[in-house]
Amino acid sequence: MAPKLPPQHTLEQSSATTTAGQAQEHDHHHGGPTGIKRWLLTTNHKEIGTLYLLFSLSMFFIGGIFALVVRAELFQPGLQLVEPEFFNQMTTMHGLIMVFGAVMPAFVGLANWMIPLQVGAPDMALPRLNNFSFWLLPVAFGLLLSTLFMPGGAPNFGWTFYAPLSTDYGPPSTTFFIFSLHIAGISSILGAINIIATILNMRAPGMRMMDMPLFVWTWLITAFLLIAVMPVLAGVITMMLMDINFGTSFFDAGGGGDPVLFQHLFWFFGHPEVYIMILPAFGIVSAIVPAFARKPLFGYASMVYATASIAILSFLVWVHHMFVVGLPLAAELFFMYTTMLIAVPTGVKVFNWVTTLFRGSITFETPMLFALAFIVMFTIGGFSGLMLAIVPADFQYHDTYFVVAHFHYVLVPGAVFAIIAGAYYWLPKWTGHYPDERLGRWHFWLSVIGVNLTFFPMHFSGLAGMPRRIPDYALQFADFNMVSSIGGFIFGVSQLLFIAVLIKCVRGGEKAPAKAWDGAEDLEWTVPSPAPLHTFETPPDLTSQAPQRH
């Protein structure tokens, strides 16, 4: 199965270094800059990938602290800790940071690290652009976080920033928020261009599109989604900017605009955006499940087509976020059915993962635990999504905690668990050491318990009518909220274990061979662990091989 590497290539790798410190020296031979400049100026996909992942991790903690402020306030009914105004800033910043600062950069980081390794390319197609798109992010989120210290406070209108709430009634810092989102958007777009250019042009000779690992496939489709919808987001926030500062009336009914237009434009971006945050997760899980079930992925081609169908359908469902704005029956029916249609390709994926597990010789290392939890809990989130798709039911669920439960189930045990699973899976490749299995299990079980304690009761409080985004609630929701808050703190604190695992793994641990996991078959496992700074300078030749997957 392993591709034949040209001898000269193997030689270089065998002389290549095995620890991070020596890898740096390897770089010195090329006369690269040192110290901080090495990271500011790097064009190496692995270093940029690491930067992305570290950035995303720090944003994950900052956004997590904001969430814990929210959960602390909601621990008991009544206003306890923070002003309602500040509470609104926390919910808004939590959403914005997690979506644009944590989940999206984490996937881009994984893409940077793994896509060149998985397609047998020496680097990304546009390495300097890669550097630029990363360094835009600290600027964007530095700016966004700085709004917390501005007069009037940070944005307080929810991560969906509905106009005219955000344009007429938002704080003065809204303009800074728009600018930071512009920068973050440009970063994502440049990242997407780079990924498309890499995948389409830099695959090893002999690797056809249908030979690509699913993580590569899902990212290719995600990148197209990014190209299609990030400009729409840029357009919407530009219109907001003009409404606020230049006297236009795109969303102001007083001047002939239409607030509902904002919602249409926002969700035309927003719905594909939620698939941008989950498709690469599908790719990661599709790599991990076969590796630990020691069976090839069941239904590779159907996985690719399912991903593509989800991506196409994502452009036809945006109105299901706004069923209550007052729509004609025909529109409600259309968007209800298209939304439910998405369950079909998603069901195909879940079926394929389960069938891959069927009669496999499964072992339960930490990456597999997170991947299995992903399958179960993402499916729960998918089912509550189906409930929300039913128009008459949605009239009741709209803007309640049921919605919060739904999207946290698909984003936390969905996207975030997949990212964590990916990190555990590829850590041996990144550091040369296996992550600590015992700590990893603690991290996993505490995370699973924390996540379910936090978000499962939200289904009930939502069905009972507890509204979103309010710092206080009626007494009958007290128990549910106390459980949610306790769960939130368990989940939050247990992520410190992840940091401990990461530090331990970088500093030492059981040495990992090139093929760190038994059943892992993709190209990245043919280069040594840790992966040297430069890999596949001569592409592996796959032309002589039998087709890998079918």
Partner: protein
Amino acid sequence: MTPVQKTVTRTVVVLIGMFFFAFALVPLYDVFCRVTGLNGKAANQPQAMSNEEADTSRYVTVQFITRSSKGLPWELEALTRQVRVHPGQPTEVEFAFTNNSDDDVWGRAVPSVTPSEASLHMRKLTCFCFQEQLIGGGERIEMPLVFQLTRDLPEDINTVTLVYTLYPVDNDNVSQQVQTTSLEGGDA
């Protein structure tokens, strides 16, 4: 061009296309809504009365709701909260504007029709909402709305709600409007 350059060029073209598409959606949405009436916006021009006979076989309840908004010290009151009309029957209702401040202020009432399907069937012959109003400090003015629901109003619509929301008009916008409004004011 290298293959990479080709890919990047194509992607950037799509990218720019999508950015302009987002802006093109604004007029497209407007046209779409004008044709289908989906956003509940009624025509903002006086329409001729259609000389169809009232359909006395059915009644439709028309409700009037008024709302003020931030930045305009006005009060708008529907003197008739609700009327029962036959489709095709022209009806006049009165609205009272009160300026609670001491200054002359420009403002405008923006209408919205619910359910939105009814907006295409709502013909307004006279409405205070067709132009900006200037109301003197402390003044109270009554203004009429004459409307007619067309006979082809869908059968399942039994209640139509008209909402008027008050919006302030910027001073710089007013300067352009003074001429037209003063002309119309002369007629009245």
